[in-house]
Symmetry: C2
Subunit: 537 residues, 2 copies
């Protein structure tokens, strides 16, 4: 179940100076090797020119890659290479994932594209494949892009090292783009599961484990693994299902500004900047603007966009920049209407992911094994009080009017799973004191609020509430929370021109993907993560 | 917590101090009036308590708006009020758009919701509607939210002042949320077309014209107009069609960081900030990261997200923050493949908008009249040289190897429209010198490049090109452009691990909407625009 390593706070840090120097030295070495390899290749080419088949292989000249012509050639997708194409000639493009020579007369290349792989074979034959051609192929560096023309053949025995069950008997092979001979990360190392490493270790073999910082430093290589390709395709689908569901229910997608005036005086740290001489900061959420949109008659809105938090959090679940999925909607009479949207939206999302994206989930699970998420057709709802009671009954000491810490949330997740058989549930009616000032208090008890959090596998992914839409109450609540009302007058004024009762919620896209797939670190679900120490690539 | 971020909403800043003071004084005046109105309302309520029908009208107590109960009541959408509901009792919620008393016994209210309006009538009748009830209704301030229960009736003559051709005979009326009695902008003023103002002026009547700064200062009111509701619904659809088209063609949606180290590639005017002690800036485009995604095997990607430009541009078409629609894709052999995507994508988009969003386009056109965009089934492509020749033949003096200025672009748009009958076309093979260093030079003439711009109604909306994917050439091009190669080593290194030929383009969402609807200012298509002087609301 556990992959790589349980995250400690040190992980996810940018490389230290020492490490950076080491990397630089390593790169320098690589470049030297690359230069030598290039010289060797040039030397071998001079031999090749004596080969009558020399036109059938070699590096594609740069000029031919500058949109020289529309030839009408058709490239076949590697995923489309099946027995039906037997004996046909095909043209494919992809990366040379592995290259293996058998003596001087045979070479095997596994070529990869869009997650599919095919074995390509060069066998020396008069007038078809020369020794020099085999030499050229075996001299290619891994991850180089190649164009291959060849004949599809069907071997007698199943092919283990490639996804496609046919081979391509190579007739022509050209290198479109060379990779450096020594990659900072080998894709097969990056794609290895923790289980494989452990098994090999037990058998006395030490396999390479690529640590997280190296992965993130060379993200351009790391994201080529099947698991990473799956993760970001799932992320795209989570967003897409979110959008399509909301559009189908009459929500309008909006974009609100990330550059906002002033500098926040609230709890969270913000990134500050100078905006043409005015003090500005990066939005920590689209809260104000999505509420203005509701007061501006949009009825139901959502936004998908970056959210910035300058907090010094070094956990497995915090980033300084992440993708927020935000929703705001008019309420007819109860904040349960907002929870109803959450319920239907996420059940639809989980269903769709499980049904339509099996291949991607399998690819992720192969490297990072996980159990499918357990969730109910109708999402479980517990009040905060009920949650506290469950914890107390289990002997956990919690403040009934405080917030739950991460540990208590995790414990409650376990208790809920045992009792209700679900890893996805809503906890609502939080104590008013632990929610933002704009949260609507409960009608019957001002100690509590019309708010909720949503949990997956014991971790919070969503926070939502009914908002205070009455300017006088909003002012009073701000004052009660010790906020200088003058600093938020624009916010409060937005509700003076007729404001419908409304509520909404916010979700972190990276957290949804992380927890749906039970991944152990949010850096795995951010394409280019930003944390207090990492600002590159 | 994702959305409940403890952030204090920012203070708004008006464009100038003077204006701000004026606004403040105005608001203060309003508040005084509001207080007086409230006192008057309270006085009238004390009379109402003597009314046996007093329970059928009044302000909804706050407590009832705090999610007190799920009653199962059903609100009927105003748009759903048709003759079929004749004699039935309905419950509706909406804004009191206009309120008119006829003597003391009759009141008419036009109630608006989601762009639909219905006329509601109160007529004094024993045991049904009291004089005090009519007084309560006529005392409501415009834009207040009301709940109305009543009977649907069908009048003999067509209704001019509302979208629905039925009336609601009011039985109960409650105010859910009060607007201040004197709004800084009246919605009917904000919704007025320039033509109406001119016509009235000719008839000797001076109607209120709401200027753009006032609109933007009170955007919460301004966006309630039918035209603005249409504009932002069209914007949402432009984005949606863009996404769905690309997803259907195998593109993956990604999110790249907006916080990047150092100062952005190419351009100079960036917003700088301190990132935990490191120099950082806001991304001017996702250029580097979308290219890394391509080199990382994602084959075809797109991103929708904010783009930041700190340029001091005060034009009708520049913003400091806008929504970028970015695409990057592998190229098999020619940058025409990228132009093919642009062609099919935008033709599909224009078709879909015209077919499926007529109501929204009509609402926009009613206030801002425009001719439908003229475009061809197969988008016209001209080379830059051909464009220059057309301009020169028309007597326009242009540098054949320089960039076209805004005026020349507009003129060329006219010439193209006259000659080819289209307002949407692609101009390609731009001079290399006027494109960024990472643009691929033409195979046959290094003076030109594999690049293109796309124009709507004579204004540029898209810029695209094949990129240089060969590290050595990229280095040479950067040096030739006077860029210190050390500062972009991360960028160049991304191409050392096998990089496929690729290209892409970027579109400004706000510009597409502005030019499709022939609007005269980009601030009309940004929900909360940011320009060098505006950072609020």
């Amino acid at each position: 179940m556990e992959d790589e390593n349980r995250q400690t706070p040190e992980e996810g840090q940018a490389p230290s100076k020492k490490a950076a120097k080491k990397e630089a030295a390593k790169l320098e070495k690589q470049r030297r090797r690359e230069a030598e390899a290039a010289a060797a290749a040039a030397a071998s080419l001079s031999i090749d020119s004596a080969d009558p088949l020399a036109a059938n292989y070699g590096d594609v000249p740069l000029n031919d890659l500058q949109s020289k012509a529309v030839t009408g050639r058709k490239w076949t997708d590697i995923g489309a290479l099946t027995e039906e194409l037997k004996d046909q000639q095909v043209l494919i493009r992809g990366r040379a994932q592995t290259i293996r020579a058998v003596g001087k007369n045979i070479a095997f290349l596994v070529v990869r594209k869009k997650g599919f792989t095919v074995q390509c074979v060069l066998t020396v034959q008069n007038d078809v494949v020369s020794r020099q051609m085999v030499k050229f192929a075996t001299g290619l560096s891994r991850e180089s892009h190649v164009d291959i023309e060849g004949i599809v053949s069907v071997p007698d025995t199943p092919i283990k090292g490639a996804s496609q069950q046919v081979e391509v008997q190579v007739r022509k092979i050209y290198c479109v783009s060379k990779a450096v001979p020594n990659l900072p990360i080998n894709i097969e190392d990056a794609a290895r599961s923790e289980i494989e490493i452990e098994k090999a270790l037990q058998a006395g073999e030490q396999l390479v484990r690529v640590n997280q910082d190296t992965r993130l430093n060379y993200r351009v290589l790391d994201i080529r693994t099947a698991a990473n390709q799956g993760i970001f395709r799932i992320q795209c689908q989570v967003e897409n299902i979110f959008r399509q569901f909301l559009l189908s229910e009459g929500f309008v997608g909006i974009h609100t500004p990330k550059l906002i005036a002033g500098s926040s005086e609230g709890g969270s740290a913000v990134f500050k900047l100078d905006y043409k001489g005015q003090a500005a900061c990066l939005a920590q959420s689209p809260q104000l603007h999505k509420q203005i949109a509701i007061c501006g008659d949009f009825d139901r809105v959502f936004e998908i966009g970056p959210v910035f938090r300058a907090e010094d959090s070094y956990t497995h679940r915090h980033l300084c920049e992440f993708t927020g999925l935000d929703v705001e909607m008019e309420i007819e009479e109860h904040y349960f209407e907002v929870m109803d949207v959450v319920d239907r939206l996420f059940v639809a999302m989980f269903d769709s992911l499980n049904e339509n994206f099996k291949k991607e989930l399998e690819a992720i699970g192969k490297q990072y094994p996980f159990e499918p998420l357990k969730y109910l057709r109708k999402t479980l709802r517990l009040t905060f009080e009920e949650g506290v009671k469950m914890l107390q009954d289990a002997g956990v000491n919690v403040d009934p009017l405080g917030d739950l810490n991460t540990e208590a949330e995790r414990k409650l997740g376990q208790l809920v799973l045992e009792k209700y058989g679900t890893e996805f549930y809503i906890l609502h009616r939080y104590p008013l004191a632990v929610r933002p000032f704009y949260t609507m208090p409960c009608y019957d008890d001002q100690t509590y609020s019309n708010s909720f959090d949503v949990f997956i596998r014991g971790e919070e992914i969503i926070s939502g509430a009914q908002r205070v839409h009455v300017p006088e109450l909003l002012t009073a609540r701000a004052e009660a929370c010790g906020i200088d009302v003058k600093t938020i007058s624009t916010y409060i004024d937005s509700f003076r021109y007729g404001a419908p009762p409304h509520g909404g919620f916010g979700v972190g896209l990276e957290r949804v993907v992380m927890l749906f797939c039970a991944l152990n670190n949010i850096r795995k679900t951010s394409l280019f993560p930003r944390d207090p120490l990492r600002l590159a690539p």
